[in-house]
Structure formats: structure tokens, C-alpha cells
């Protein structure tokens, strides 16, 4: 696997990973812009509207037919946020020619189609079609409203929202209902043109084609890309401290049978010079995976829940612990989670736990080398941070993380907010949970 990077046009970069072992190649394009409440929904809406039809393939049916012809190539909208950088674009994947009956080469036609989606949408009078904008807007509203459907991720999002209430990170990658409802096709067209002109762009390719060919195919396909003055003022506001002296508490009631507890933390001063390897190992010791303290204690030892795990949001300097618990076990679970963090701060980590954590993290990083989709996410984050080492090099660093480094991370972590999603009328505990610990 060989990584290289090239600037295709001003502010347009290609990360190229030459790799012969996959049957499917992937190519992504990401526009980078600042995450803001006023524009988040518009940013999120743009790839979906562009995906409705291009100048040549005017509607979904024609576009889908073209993709079918390209052996079911997929080009899907992607909306994510890396810290407070809003990343919107497309992810394409398509068969390598060696696996196709006629040995057809799909790189060039896929680059063309991707660029056409990006640069030449179906318009009338230079404006995005109102029916496409309205229809995608309705769908985006459904997504925004639908976040309540999955209670586990809903609770995590709500915790983030409350914790970061004074920061842009409170805005979800899809924006909020009000600003989405206000989107108008003319305004969206202006915003789209503005993004095309001013956004830095990241392309990522992983597959069998050499750098030269990918560069050429993309340069040809992107010849119509307008480049104005680039908006390079994008980045993330990293806050080290909790908002208040004591962790805030937010409770919400919905019609659910299981409670969802989420503890939100700031990673704290260790983010002044973040050490990715140490953060990953800390997270594995604390709450990620079956050898973590949370899994072994909150779940296995005390049987308080089916899941209790921690999630790192490194680019925003956050740590979240999420758990599904019976309503009446809220206090016990919260105390145990905090007690486990305290234990790490006190250096109560065995050599074995350190070894398990290092091995687990290193293994996950090495396994990433076999997944084009994960590689794409990894390299995008690296590109944003201006780093050029791969998962393997990071795995090496992970192997050297010491217990002291892990303790230092734990000491730096500050609890900011505790969120609890509970039933409308809990309190009348369900009859069966009372005897759980027998």
C-alpha cells in the first residue's frame, strides 16, 4: 500500500492510496467548510440535490441507469463533521477492471460522472430545480426529525448538544429543523456556487490505478471547476474546561422502556498537544471493547446494563460514555462509570490491562488496512490535521504508550454534563429488574 498526495488545482488535493488487493476501488470528494447553525442544513442538502440529476442524466432514473451500466458503481452523498469542520461530498465505489467479464475500465467514467454531479447539476436558468430542492429538503427534515427513532444515538446527540450549547458543535451534521425549513432553491443555488468557488477540497482514491492516471482522470473531469478566493478560515474551537464547576445534569422523558445514560467529558488540557496513540489506548483501557474497565465492571461485574462504552471525539476534544440501563439503576451506573475513571486517575491499571488495550487498538488500526471505507475516513482526518502517517505507523506508536501517559489523559479529562433519557412514567419500576442482582 503506497500513499501519496498531490495538489490537483488550487486548494484541491488528492490523497492517493495505491493498493492492488481489493476488488472494488473507491474515490471520494469532500468539500470543507465551517460548521455553523445558519448554513449546516444547506451544506448537508447540497450533495443530495446534486445526486438527483445532472445536465446529462437529468433525473434519478437516468442517473441510476448510468450507474447500473457501470456495473453497479455507487456514488452516494456523504455528510459528516470532523470537529467543527463540515465535510460534504460524495463517496464512490466501483469494480476493478480485473474482476469484470470484459475487463472494462471504470475509473475514467466514474470520475466523469462524479465531477458532473459536482459541477453540472440539472438546472433551469442557472438555478437548481425547485422540485429537487423541495423534495430533498423534505427528506432532510425527515432525517432531522427521525433522530429520535434510535434512542441510543439520540441520547448521545442530545448530550453533545447540551454539552456544547455555546459552540458550533451543538449543531448536528444535518443542521436543525428551523434552518432547514427556511431553505429556498435560489438561496441554495447561491450557496452551492459559493462553496464550489471557495471551499478547499479533498479527493481520496484507493485502488489499482497509479497516481498519474488518477490525477489525469480527475484533472480532465474537473476542468470546469471554478476557483475563487479560498476560504481557509476553518477550524475547531477546542475548549478544555467544563462549562460549570459541577457537571450539569439534563434529563429528558420519552416513551421508552430502557433508560439511556450519557456522560459527556472534555478531554481537557491534554488536547493542547494531543497524542493520538495515548488517547486511543486510554479509551481502550477505560471504555472501548470487552477488556475495558466499563465493560468488565459496569456490565460484567454489576450486570447493570447491556452496553456501556466510551467514544472519543478527538477532533473536538470530547469523550462520551453511553449506556443503556434500567431507570432505577441510573445512579449506580453513573457512580460506577465515574469510579472507573477515578481508578485510572489513581493509576489502578494492571500491566495486563495496558497490554490488552495496546494490542486491541493496534489490531484495529492494522485491520483498517483491509477496509477502503475506513481508510478513507482515516486519511481525510489526517489530511485535515496535516499529518501524513498511516494506520500502521500509528499502530507502532500505540505499542509504545505507557501507563503514565494513560493516567495523564485520565487526569486531564473533565466531566461536563450528564444526560439521562428516561420513561414518561418510570419510577414504577418494571417488575423484573428488581431481582437482577440475585
Amino acid at each position: 500500500m503506497e500513499y501519496s498526495r498531490a495538489e490537483l488545482m488550487p486548494g484541491v488535493y488528492l490523497s492517493h492510496l495505491r493498493c492492488d488487493k481489493f476488488k472494488t476501488a473507491c474515490l471520494s470528494v469532500t468539500l470543507l467548510t465551517q460548521l455553523r447553525r445558519e448554513t449546516a442544513s444547506m451544506n448537508a442538502l447540497i450533495p443530495s440535490v446534486l445526486r438527483r440529476g445532472t445536465a446529462r442524466y437529468g433525473d434519478l432514473e437516468q442517473l441510476a441507469a448510468r450507474l447500473d451500466e457501470l456495473y453497479g458503481a455507487a456514488i452516494e452523498p456523504v455528510v459528516r463533521r470532523v470537529g467543527e469542520i463540515h465535510c460534504v461530498g460524495f463517496f464512490a465505489s466501483f469494480a476493478e477492471s480485473a474482476c469484470l467479464p470484459g475487463g472494462e475500465e471504470l475509473l475514467t467514467p466514474v470520475c466523469e460522472l462524479l465531477a458532473e454531479m459536482l459541477l453540472a447539476p440539472n438546472t433551469r436558468g442557472g438555478l437548481l430545480l425547485p422540485q429537487y430542492v423541495d423534495s430533498e429538503k423534505e427528506k432532510l427534515l425527515d432525517v432531522i426529525r427521525g433522530r429520535v427513532n434510535d434512542k441510543r444515538s439520540y441520547a448521545v446527540q442530545r448530550c453533545l448538544e447540551e454539552m456544547c450549547c455555546c459552540e458550533d458543535y451543538a449543531v448536528s451534521r444535518f443542521g436543525d429543523e428551523a434552518s432547514c425549513e427556511a431553505i429556498h432553491y435560489k438561496k441554495l443555488t447561491r450557496h452551492y456556487r459559493e462553496l464550489l468557488r471557495t471551499c478547499p477540497m479533498e479527493f481520496f482514491y484507493c485502488g489499482q490505478a497509479p497516481l498519474r492516471r488518477v490525477k489525469q482522470a480527475l484533472r480532465d473531469a474537473l476542468s470546469g471547476l471554478p476557483r475563487g478566493e479560498l476560504d481557509l478560515d476553518i477550524g475547531t474551537d477546542l475548549r478544555m474546561n467544563a462549562l460549570e464547576e459541577q457537571p450539569r445534569y439534563v434529563e429528558e422523558r420519552l416513551d421508552v422502556t430502557q433508560g439511556k445514560l450519557v456522560l459527556g467529558f472534555r478531554l481537557g488540557e491534554c488536547m493542547e498537544d494531543p497524542d493520538l496513540a495515548a488517547l486511543y489506548v486510554f479509551n481502550a483501557v477505560f471504555g472501548s471493547g470487552p477488556t475495558s474497565k466499563l465493560f468488565l465492571n459496569v456490565r460484567e461485574k454489576l450486570s447493570l446494563c447491556y452496553y456501556a462504552g466510551s467514544i472519543l471525539v478527538i477532533r473536538k476534544g470530547l469523550l462520551l460514555v453511553s449506556s443503556g440501563v434500567a431507570f432505577e439503576n441510573f445512579g449506580a451506573a453513573r457512580d460506577e462509570i465515574l469510579a472507573q475513571l477515578e481508578a485510572i486517575r489513581n493509576g489502578e491499571i494492571t500491566d495486563e490491562e495496558m497490554e490488552w488495550a495496546r494490542r486491541g487498538v493496534a489490531s484495529d488500526l492494522r485491520a483498517m488496512l483491509d477496509s477502503p471505507g475506513e481508510l478513507e475516513g482515516f486519511w481525510l482526518a489526517q489530511a485535515l490535521d496535516g499529518l501524513d502517517y498511516g494506520p500502521e505507523a500509528l499502530a507502532e506508536l500505540v505499542g509504545e504508550v505507557t501507563k503514565e501517559q494513560v493516567v495523564a489523559v485520565a487526569k486531564s479529562v473533565v466531566c461536563d454534563l450528564i444526560y439521562f433519557l428516561r420513561g414518561r412514567e418510570d419510577g414504577e419500576a418494571k417488575e423484573d429488574e428488581a431481582d437482577d442482582e440475585n
Binding site: D20, L60, Y71, Q131, D142, L296, A326, R359, G360, S363
Partner: protein, 427 residues
């Protein structure tokens, strides 16, 4: 081991049935860092009634899943989950209606991890205390499932379609049913269903197939036990029990599933061919490039989460279509029209060829995923076919096959609709 080369997709499969009856499959993969192994038994949530020592047994809902949780306990108090994780592997397990799979992925120490997988899955160790303790965890898992609208709409659909087949019931059982489970229940079910003759192992990674066969032979008991047969009751007809059901839950928009039964109990290449025909027909009828989907999408009646699948489990085969829609009934009516048209007119040759191409591309993409490949292979073993033959059979399918499928199976009176609607009058 028998070596079969699948030239068109660049894979080589090694197969063997060991003297103890275990079906072994190995796909060597050079240049990959990841190793993957799945050890599966042909025993799932629906296998509740069976015969043991000439006697009929009826077990509570949720045993297979409970057993899956408790299999990780080793004599002496160790947990295989911890041992494997501590060794850098990523272990897990799942139980479906038809099968239970234990698997891990790792990048080093593969053989050691494989020995551990074989050891813990073939070493039952349960005490009344450890079994009782698990109730707290599993009860929370069941509760979590009860709040999940996706599961609710799915199980409602199965109850609409199936009159008595045990796939109607949740794999994990209920908080009540799992209280009846004791250490003895688990021992009995393990003895019957976890004999190598009822199991399959599949490995993918940079390995030597003969070496794998040697390790497996060494690690597992040599006796060949009789193959158990779960009793799913009498075959059901193709008509649903009831055509419609709806329930309110805490969701933002209606979630729906349309379902249709296909014949039960098919095995071998015939089973695989029917699944492929069904999947390709569904792709043409309602896949992302179908006129049905693109039009309903443009009209705002469907979203990108709309999907279809042909679901095989515990001898049953079910076509399921659904997602989110403001008007599930309208979607059903339009789906019926699309099916009727396909049955009457068939599919255009060019449309059919395009769909086949797209299906090939999607299947190639599926090959990147070790767990997808290995789990399909073991499931195929239990249903008497080789999942990699799908590529050859797909190439052989003709437009007429899909038309006949639509005509024979996609009939309006056989469809059922399950809907979850948002709660009314919410704060």
C-alpha cells in the same frame, strides 16, 4: 481438502467435511492483514422444539441467544471474550432465528485465537449462579429491543405472515421466558446442537488450509454425533395470516414493511437459485434504479432508507420490502401494481442485463467484507449450497426466470403490511 477456484472473482475455496462431521471452509487471502474465523451451529432462536434421546423437548423462547451469551464463560471463571480481546482479537457472536455464530477478527496470533474459539464453543460450563446473573444483562438487551421500532415493525410483519412458525418470536425471547432458563436447559441444548456434525467453520485470511484442518481436527471431539432436527411445525401456506397491522411508537414518521412468503424447506442449489432469482427480481422491481423507486422517491413517498431483502432463516424464505413513508398504504398499492405489471409483461432485455451487471458489481463489493463472505458460506453450508456459486448462477439467470418468479410468488393476496406510526398528541 478440496480446492475449487472461482476464476471469475479471483478467489479460491478449500472445503472439507471432517470425520466428526464438521464442515470446514477456508479462503486464503494473500496481502491482507486481517484474519477472520466464524464457528457456527445450525441452531437459532426458532429451534425451540426438537427430539433428544427419543423424547420431545420444548424449550422457552430465548435459549439459543442465552446460550450464546453464556458460552463465553470458561471453567475456572475466565471469559473467552476477555482472553480473545486481551490477545488483540475482536471477538463477538450473534444469534439469528436459524443459526448462532461465534467469530473473531484479528491481525496477529491467529492460530492461537482459532484454538481458543474452537475450545470455548465446544466447552459448555454453566452454573445456576452464572446463568442467573446473565438475566440482568439480557433483560436490558430485550428492553433495548422493545424500544427499537425497526425490530417491532419486523416482528409484527412475521406475525402477520406466519401462523405458527417460531421465527414469529423474538430471538432473545422475553423478560418472562428467559426466567425459565436454567443451567440444565443450556447443557441439554449445547449437547444436542453443538456437536461438530451440526456445525461449520469458515476461515478467511493469509493461512494454509491444511494447517487449519489440522488445528481443527486436533481441537474438536472426534466422534460423529447424529444431526439433530429442529421441529418448526407443519409447513405453512403462502397466504399471510392477516394482511395488515399497525402500532404506535415513539417515532418521527411511519415505518413500514411489506412481506411475502416463499416456499419453506428448500435446499441445495435450488434454494440458492430461488434466492438469487428473488433478489434480482426485487432489484428490478423496486431497487434504487427501478421506475417504482425513482418515481415514489421523487413524489416524496419514499426515502433513501427504503430497501428490499430476501430473508432466509430456519427453513423459511421471506421477501421483505420497506422503509419510512408518510403513506405506507399508497406504497403498498403501487408495489402491487409494479408486481402485477412484471408478472404480465416481464422485464425488457436491456433492463434485465443492466440489473445483472449492477448485481454483479454489488456482489463483488460484498466480497471485500470477510465477515459477510464467511457468514454467507456457513449459512450456505447449512442450507446445502456454496454461497460463492452465486456468481455463476447469477450469470445463468434469464429475464424469463424473473418474470415467472413475479407471476408465481408476487401475488397481491399474499402481501402483508406492518406499520409503526408516530404517537398522536405528543408534547
Amino acid at each position: 481438502m478440496t480446492r475449487i477456484e472461482y476464476k471469475e472473482i479471483g478467489e479460491t475455496l478449500y472445503s472439507a467435511q471432517l470425520p466428526n462431521g464438521l464442515e470446514l471452509r477456508v479462503i486464503p487471502k494473500k496481502d491482507f492483514s486481517t484474519f477472520y474465523a466464524v464457528f457456527a451451529t445450525n441452531y437459532g432462536g426458532a429451534c425451540r422444539r426438537f427430539q433428544v434421546d427419543g423424547e420431545d423437548r420444548d424449550t422457552p423462547a430465548g435459549v439459543a441467544h442465552y446460550l450464546e451469551h453464556k458460552m463465553f464463560d470458561l471453567p475456572g471463571g475466565d471469559s473467552a471474550l476477555n482472553i480473545l480481546s486481551a490477545n488483540g482479537a475482536d471477538p463477538n457472536a450473534f444469534t439469528s432465528s436459524g443459526i448462532t455464530c461465534y467469530y473473531f477478527q484479528c491481525t496477529e496470533g491467529f492460530e492461537e485465537n482459532l484454538r481458543m474459539l474452537l475450545h470455548f464453543v465446544s466447552t459448555p460450563y454453566f452454573t445456576d449462579e452464572t446463568v442467573a446473573k446473565e438475566q440482568g444483562i439480557i433483560s436490558q438487551e430485550i428492553r433495548m429491543g422493545e424500544d427499537n421500532p425497526g425490530l417491532a415493525v419486523y416482528y409484527h410483519l412475521l406475525k402477520l405472515l406466519y401462523a405458527h412458525h417460531p421465527i414469529r418470536d423474538r430471538v432473545a425471547g422475553t423478560v418472562e421466558s428467559i426466567r425459565e432458563i436454567t443451567a440444565q436447559t443450556l447443557y441439554d441444548c449445547h449437547r444436542v446442537f453443538y456437536a461438530p456434525s451440526n456445525m461449520a467453520l469458515c476461515v478467511e485470511g493469509d493461512v494454509d488450509p491444511d494447517e487449519i484442518a489440522r488445528i481443527v481436527t486436533e481441537a474438536l471431539p472426534p466422534e460423529r454425533a447424529p444431526i439433530p432436527k429442529a421441529d418448526f411445525g407443519e409447513r405453512e401456506g403462502l397466504l399471510p395470516v392477516q394482511a395488515f397491522q399497525s402500532e404506535e411508537m415513539e417515532v418521527s414518521a411511519p415505518q413500514f414493511l411489506i412481506g411475502l412468503k416463499l416456499p419453506e424447506g428448500l435446499r441445495g442449489e435450488e434454494a440458492l437459485r430461488l434466492r438469487l432469482t428473488a433478489t434480482l427480481t426485487m432489484r428490478m422491481l423496486c431497487g434504487s434504479s427501478s421506475p417504482f423507486f425513482t418515481r415514489l422517491y421523487a413524489e416524496g413517498l419514499l426515502n433513501t432508507d427504503f430497501d428490499y431483502e430476501v430473508d432466509a432463516a430456519a427453513d423459511t424464505l421471506t421477501v421483505i420490502v420497506g422503509g419510512e413513508s408518510r403513506e405506507p398504504e399508497t406504497v403498498l398499492a403501487r408495489f402491487r401494481d409494479a408486481c402485477a405489471r412484471a408478472a404480465a409483461e416481464g422485464f425488457e432485455a436491456s433492463y434485465f442485463e443492466r440489473a445483472k451487471r449492477a448485481s454483479l458489481g454489488a456482489r463483488l463489493r460484498g466480497l471485500e467484507d470477510f465477515d459477510n463472505v464467511c457468514v454467507s458460506l456457513v449459512s450456505g453450508v447449512f442450507d446445502g449450497f456454496c454461497a460463492l456459486d452465486a456468481f455463476r448462477l447469477l450469470a445463468e439467470l434469464e429475464a424469463g426466470d424473473c418474470r415467472r418468479f413475479a407471476e408465481e410468488y408476487l401475488r397481491p393476496e399474499r402481501m402483508a403490511l406492518s406499520v409503526i406510526t408516530p404517537k398522536k398528541a405528543q408534547v
